[in-house]
Assembly symmetry: C2
Homo-oligomer: 223 residues x 2
DNA sequence: ACAATAGTGTCTGTTAGACAGTATTCA
DNA sequence: TGAATACTGTCTAACAGACACTATTGT
């Protein structure tokens, strides 16, 4: 009754929005296999220190990037015989989101890079490790699907934001323009947004808001 | 760099609908740990014969029940230090659906039992193994969520069915009565249903249909 | 005053829910 | 002919999308 145990890892698809385009955080692998290729932030689950798989993902982000994401959720598990040349392996894939300002800081200090994932990954580097291009696609699909009926995309903004800014991230992720009047009406009906203050810009100042809950689900599609 | 590898298993929450109530298939464990308790159909992933985790789930169903489900999908992965007394373990949880007629046959021939999962599991047996009560809840929640915007529930009917029958399974899973006229209009708009024939019952005969695709997703909520 | 951006009011077409009514079978 | 079940037509209220309008700032 002793089977060969597969490897068990976590991989984190850390995404943000830069100039209206989704970007993913990748790091260069510094050891074999796939040395030198670009890979998701990830690593082995440590049975002795991780209480569960999400804790393993948080530890990995802390150790490799010294960073706690605004949002983290499990996407799926990719487990098969061919994804890793070393043999049968399983990866619990997580989606993480944060604001571009903070991630840009990590690029400078931690050697991580941000790559544009739009146009079906056409702008990603050629040499992506393992099945990580597929894992990126799965996480991006999850984000796009969830954008339409939740406040998930707000986690790619700083903690406080204006409604036009929020509309912008919805438009980018959903890939279509939204009518400002209708967006305001619907988002204020559906999401628990708390008024924070006022932001002065180049025209009329905007109200700033923050999320009342980490994640709100809508009973109807936003757009 | 050699960590203790956690155990990697699959567990299948096999559900069907009996007299309007969701039921789950459980089997009595015949060995330690948790011997004698009721457990989901599941087992270790076999790195030497399973190409991926879904193949492992299908093999497990074939070996233990000699059965191929009408629908099978991954739900999530439950992975932590405390779910199995033997130590850190990970289970890739799957949701499987089939018609009650076929599952009733397996009860007779394979020692499996079907338990009512309604009322938050109040009618489940006391002695459920490991964290399987939680896994059942996760799969049932997934099914209920997906029922509102897909044809997933049709997999708990035989291959051909009438619209009143289909309405019945939607009503049971969604937990509310639906207006027949509106149900017909919306399901025929949204789902790819193929006309098969005519079924004679006690009143006016009903058209029979089958699913045009394994799973249709709707752009709007059904109810 | 005007450019720029934020935010409101309101009209219209579409969709969802309610419900009355028709259709087709068997006893 | 009536009970039983399947199915259709149509009215109304709610909602989504479009768009013209007002509001508040800086220059």
């Amino acid at each position: 009754m002793n089977y060969t145990k597969p490897d068990l890892t976590v991989d984190i698809v850390l995404l943000t929005l830069i100039e209206g385009r989704l970007h993913v955080a990748l790091m260069r692998r510094d050891k074999a296999p796939e040395e030198g290729k670009w890979a998701l932030v990830g690593g082995y689950i440590h049975a002795d220190e991780d209480t569960d798989s999400t804790a393993a993902a948080l530890r990995t982000l802390r150790v490799k990037l010294d960073f706690v994401p605004s949002h983290l959720e499990q996407v799926c598990t990719e487990a098969n015989a061919t994804r890793d040349p070393r043999g049968w392996s399983a990866s619990v894939v997580h989606l993480a989101l944060h604001s571009p300002e903070v991630l840009a800081g990590l690029v400078a200090s931690k050697g991580m890079q941000l790559f544009d994932v739009e146009d079906d990954g056409a702008h990603l580097p050629e040499n992506i490790a393992f099945d990580h291009q597929k894992l990126i696609r799965l996480a991006v699909e999850r984000l796009r699907a969830k954008a339409g009926y939740s406040t998930i995309v707000a986690h790619m903004l700083p903690e406080t934001f204006t409604l036009p800014e929020l509309q912008g991230v919805y438009e980018s992720v959903l890939g279509k323009a939204l009518n400002p009047a209708n967006f305001r009406r619907k988002i204020l009906e559906r999401a628990a947004l708390e008024v924070v203050g006022t932001l002065h810009g180049t025209g009329r100042p905007a109200q700033t808001y923050r999320l009342g809950h980490a994640l709100d689900y809508f009973d109807r599609q936003l757009a």
